[in-house]
């Protein structure tokens, strides 16, 4: 049982390049989330999903896209990387219903130069 797995762990992108951050979970959790952590800014919700085929915007969705074709996977797409997207990205999953905690992956550190 690996939990929530994120790949890659580190990545350097040039401005304007695109990439996909991968997130997969093996706990059969319906809810999945993407966050970014900037210094002193806490964790900001980018997008979330309550099940396959259903996604919704969080607090800071601009510049990102997501898809959810399976319960296990929730990739985050950056189409035109900008320096403002330099951050640490965390994926999390959670079972549906009230009063449940989310489980986090180890994070992807992205630098855009």
């Amino acid at each position: 049982n690996a939990g929530v797995t994120q790949t890659p762990k580190f990545r350097i992108l040039k401005i304007g390049q695109s990439m996909t951050l991968q997130c997969t979970q093996d706990m059969n959790h319906n809810y999945m989330y993407w966050y970014r952590q900037d210094p002193g800014m806490g964790l900001k919700l980018i997008y979330y999903s309550v099940g396959a085929g259903i996604t919704d915007k969080g607090e800071v969705p601009n510049g990102y896209n997501v898809s959810r074709s399976t319960t296990e996977d929730f990739p985050l797409r950056l189409e035109l990387a900008a320096p403002s997207q330099t951050s640490v990205y965390f994926c999390a999953s959670r079972i549906p219903g009230q009063n449940t905690e989310a489980f986090f992956g180890q994070g992807t550190r992205l630098t855009v130069v």
Binding site: Y33, G40, G42, Y48, F90, Q98, N99, A102, G107
Partner: protein, 112 residues
């Protein structure tokens, strides 16, 4: 608009003393609150939670208090240990929205 706020970016306490971390929220629809602990280069890990129908929840050295009228919660760690040194995030569940909103975090340093 920061819906969950942790106004103290850092806190330093002596080993064995009590650590009190505070969190305020603005949205009265939040009905479930969580605390997470984060070490450098790792993902956040769940610590303790509280439902809005309670005002206190305790788990070993960790106790969370909720004051709904003040829209305030706090995490008490007693006694504090050097291994507790980490960033602590509070989070709030928006209920019907299924969102999980986090605060800005407090860096706790427990001095031996």
């Amino acid at each position: 608009d920061q819906q969950v706020k942790q106004n103290s970016p850092s806190l330093s306490v002596q080993e064995g003393r009590i650590s009190i971390l505070n969190c305020d929220y603005t949205n009265s629809m939040f009905d479930y609150f969580l605390w997470y602990k984060k070490y450098p280069a790792e993902g956040p890990t769940f610590l303790i939670s509280i439902s809005s129908i309670k005002d206190k929840n305790e788990d070993g050295r960790f106790t969370v208090f909720l004051n709904k009228s003040a829209k305030h919660l706090s995490l008490h760690i007693v006694p504090s240990q050097p291994g507790d040194s980490a960033v602590y995030f509070c989070a709030a569940d928006g209920g019907a929205t299924n969102k999980l909103i986090f605060g800005t975090g407090t860096l706790l340093a427990v001095q031996p």
